[in-house]
């Protein structure tokens, strides 16, 4: 693999992460190799505790890897963060309860020092995009879990990032809401040109959303297989009816079993 640090998209090369603790050291990641082409959608799937979140945190500059290199749009995670090139969506929406929906979405822009009219304008657009335009004056507790997560997505998109890092964003929701939000995400993604790294532990979700599924083993976390998903875009409610879909699900499942056997 040629080393092209000028490539856009996401890249992890030989990434390892070791945590020191009283109870003994934990090797969370080791030798992780991953590449997400620009504009691509890659899911990372693996058993709980395999280090998926650690990898995402490394990309979003919340962690420093012990070894290896990461690049986001050709820059280091720290540089990318400074340049506001990525947005992050966590598993819990993490909305500030004392702010309205609108003000939650304007939060990143406020921190960046963007002027008020522009902030509000952008927030309106983002909320429109996720379909919550009529809820701008509401408070988080007045919204359901799925709606809160949509606000979190709008907030992540407000800085117009070219990369979106999502850590099991729909993990806390029921399956029906999850399916609906998957469709939503596909629609939203269709209007942007973002590169997305998506962590999940739902096989069907991974196959439905991505163009590439990275299967991860645990302890230490390592990408064991990369499965290309060449189902046609845009993905919709009929995608799930296609036989190829289920073949891919089976393939991913097998890879997962292999990965967990390997530990």
């Amino acid at each position: 693999m040629a080393d092209e640090m000028g490539t856009l998209g996401l890249r992890a090369s030989g990434v390892g992460k070791r945590f020191l603790s009283k109870g003994g050291d934990v090797q969370a990641l080791e030798g992780v190799e991953l590449e997400v082409a620009q504009g691509g959608f890659t899911s990372v799937i693996g058993p709980s505790g395999c280090g998926k979140s650690t990898l995402l945190k490394a990309f979003s500059d919340l962690l420093e890897p012990s070894t290896g290199e990461l690049s986001v749009n050709g820059k280091s995670p720290a540089e990318a963060r400074a340049a506001r090139e990525f947005g992050v969506v966590f598993q819990s929406p993490n909305l500030l309860p004392w702010r309205t929906v609108l003000r939650n979405v304007t939060l990143p822009l406020q921190v960046m020092g963007v002027d008020r009219p522009t902030r509000i304008q952008t927030a309106h657009e983002m909320l429109e995009l996720v379909g919550l335009a009529s809820f701008i004056r509401h408070h988080p507790w007045q919204l359901s879990g799925g709606m809160q997560q949509r606000v979190a997505i709008a907030r992540a998109l407000s800085t117009n990032p070219s990369v979106l890092l999502m850590d099991e964003p729909f993990g806390a929701l029921d399956e029906i809401t999850r399916d609906r939000l998957n469709l939503e995400l596909m629609r939203i993604w269709g209007t942007l040109s973002a590169t997305i790294l998506f962590i999940t532990h739902s096989i069907t979700e991974a196959v439905f959303l991505s163009s590439q599924v990275a299967v991860m083993s645990s302890r230490p976390g390592r990408i064991t297989r990369l499965i290309e998903v060449d189902l046609p875009y845009p993905r919709n409610s009929q995608t799930r009816d296609m036989p190829e879909f289920y073949e891919l699900v089976i393939e991913v499942r097998r890879a997962l079993v292999e990965a967990s056997d390997a530990t």
């Binding site: 945190k57 979003s60 500059d61 919340l62 963060r81 400074a82 506001r84 990525f86 947005g87 992050v88 966590f90 819990s92 993490n94 500030l96 309860p97 004392w98 939060l107 990143p108 406020q110 921190v111 960046m112 379909g131 919550l132 009529s134 507790w141 007045q142 919204l143 359901s144 799925g146 709606m147 800085t159 609906r180 469709l183 939503e184 596909m186 629609r187 845009p234 993905r235 919709n236 409610s237 009929q238």
Partner: protein
């Protein structure tokens, strides 16, 4: 949802949990609570009279309620209305309490933030602060007077001392309980420490801080009264309490009146803080105002 379309359907869900009760309902429940509070006062009065009846205690020890209330209308040796006399002293004490409360709060907030943010500072200082709360004020007060003399400064130091600790502890604990994920979130936006404090930590800790403020408010009144004792000043509730106590044999009702006035002042301070919390926090305030 759609069936034949090729693209995903834009669904705006109307799952909308109605948690906020309409304004009118909240007003009525507040009125209810006030009525219950008054009712309880009446019951307490009735129990007092009942106890008096049963034990046959004389009027010297347990004056009748209505006698005590009537006393409020009598005139003092200075030819003033007694109630007016009480009010003036209450006001004097209240002023001192307020100053102490404000200073103590300012110091407490600052210290609390420092403790919560700086690991070393916090681990070292917090146990000391929690321990210092156990020192009774009347032990410190004489020592303070011996050191700083009798005057406004001592009064302020005493009230500030009492209000400082609850506010510090509440602020520190509140900020320490901000979940790591929220910090991470602000980190990804590159927020500075000051921004993070303003936008995240203080609003998050606000409910807890207000609880600490309630305690501080009550303590500030206690502190002001304590500071007015013999070596303090010549006006204020502390002074009135002592003189009423000394002259109890002559006029028992005065003591009860001033005791009630003191409790009332404390309650007013606490309720004011609660009211402030209600307006500042909205539905996030702990429990209701009353």
């Amino acid at each position: 949802m759609s069936s034949a379309e090729s693209g995903p359907v834009l669904t705006v869900s109307d799952e909308f949990s109605d948690v906020v009760s309409p304004g009118g309902q909240r007003f009525w429940s507040a009125v209810q609570r006030v009525l219950i509070a008054l009712l309880l006062l009446l019951i307490a009065g009735a129990l007092w009279e009942l106890a008096k009846l049963i034990t046959g205690t004389g009027d010297r020890t347990m004056p009748h309620i209505w006698h005590t209330l009537r006393f409020l209308g009598s005139t003092t040796s200075q030819d003033e209305n007694y109630t007016w006399f009480l009010v003036q002293n209450v006001w004097s004490t209240a002023k001192a309490s307020l100053v102490g409360l404000l200073v103590g709060t300012a110091l407490g907030l600052t210290t609390g933030v420092l403790i919560a943010r700086n690991r070393l500072f916090g681990d070292g200082l917090m146990p000391l602060i929690v321990a210092a709360q156990a020192v009774p004020i009347v032990a410190i007060a004489p020592a303070l007077v011996l050191w700083l003399g009798t005057g406004g400064v001592t009064k302020m130091v005493i009230t500030t001392y009492l209000t400082f600790f609850p506010v510090t502890v509440a602020t520190a604990r509140g900020i320490q309980s901000v979940p790591q994920e929220s910090h991470d979130l602000l980190r990804t936006y590159g927020a500075s420490k000051w921004t993070s404090l303003r936008i995240l930590e203080i609003p998050f800790a606000a409910p807890l801080i207000f609880v600490g403020l309630e305690t501080a408010a009550a303590f500030s009144v206690v502190g002001a009264i304590v500071a007015e004792l013999p070596f303090g000043s010549n006006e204020g509730l502390g002074v009135v309490i002592l003189t009423s106590w000394q002259f109890y044999i002559v006029e028992p009702r005065a003591l009860y009146c001033v005791a009630m006035a003191s409790c009332a002042l404390g309650a007013i301070f606490v309720l004011s803080v609660r009211l402030a919390a209600y307006f500042a926090l909205g539905p996030r305030s702990q429990g209701e105002v009353l």
